[in-house]
Amino acid sequence: MDHFPYLFGGFSVVWIGLFLYLWSLDRRSRRAEKDLEELRRRFGDG
């Protein structure tokens, strides 16, 4: 069990990295959808 911190570190990096990327995708996706709706509304009105 000497190498347990390395095993824990390796798996933590993978799961935290993947969750962070998923979170960033979700955040950017919501912002892009919101921007598109706002532009459609504004340009449609103009």
Binding site: G9, G10, V13, V14, A32, L36, L39
Partner: protein, 235 residues
């Protein structure tokens, strides 16, 4: 095709989540501990599938880029952009988990072994690709330059594959090496590796589909701006 494609994309997270839980069961409970490396060898079960997902992503960039250069259709360019970003995520995980495994086994976080050097070169090429897409502007010429870069970058992948034998590096050949040289001795080890690789492939496909949908929205925003700008100039 589109409804089938989007139905598949919607189903993917519901397939990936239980599959990942099954993969974790295999990695931490079912698979025996490797005799010479000990528990740290289990990092291989995420390191190697991440590498395969990254390579598949970058190969998809090259294929989509080739199709874009041949046909000029924007859909191929969008696919290439989505695959490049997801490929970079997995390639970054490879470059982080590799040194975490190497420290207790080799006694060093990093060595300039041919396979490691080639992998960092691959990461740099696709980082340049993504920077070009992010800051190069919306012109088609930028997309074409990026497509060439995407194809050239993928030429590094077969070199990474053969580098272990060609230049006799110290990186183990996990699949083909004998058990005492870092290979997989137990059939459960192989099953775990291939099952986790399938899970990572599905995860990558899902991430690409999400990123692709986002790129479509971003392109629509860009088109709306351009349309508005053109209308103003005419007016």
């Amino acid at each position: 095709m589109r409804p089938l494609g989007s139905a598949l994309a919607r189903a993917l997270p519901w397939i990936v989540a239980p599959a990942m839980i099954a993969a974790l069961y295999l990695i931490f409970i079912a698979v025996p501990t490797e005799r010479t490396q000990g528990i740290v060898q289990r990092i291989f079960y995420v390191h190697v599938p991440s590498a395969w997902a990254a390579f598949a992503g970058f190969l998809a960039v090259a294929v989509a880029s080739g199709c874009f250069l041949a046909t000029g259709r924007a859909v191929y360019d969008r696919v290439a952009r989505a695959c490049a970003e997801v490929g970079m995520v997995f390639c970054t995980l490879v470059l982080i988990t590799g040194p975490i495994w190497a420290r207790p086994i080799w006694g060093a976080w990093w060595t300039w072994d041919p396979r490691l050097t080639m992998t960092i070169l691959l990461w740099t090429i696709y980082a340049a690709y993504l920077l070009l897409r992010a800051f190069g502007g919306p012109e088609e010429s930028v997309a074409r330059y990026a497509a060439v870069l995407g194809i050239v970058g993928a030429l590094d992948i077969p070199l990474i594959r053969v580098s272990v034998r060609l230049w006799r590096g110290i990186h183990p050949a996990v699949i083909s090496a004998p058990a005492n040289e870092g290979g997989l001795a137990d059939p459960t080890m192989r099953l775990t590796l291939f099952f986790t690789a399938a899970c990572f492939a599905l995860l990558a496909a899902w991430l690409i589909s999400v990123r692709l949908r986002m790129i479509r929205v971003e392109d629509e925003i860009e088109a709306l701006y351009m349309q508005r700008l053109a209308a103003r100039e005419v007016g």
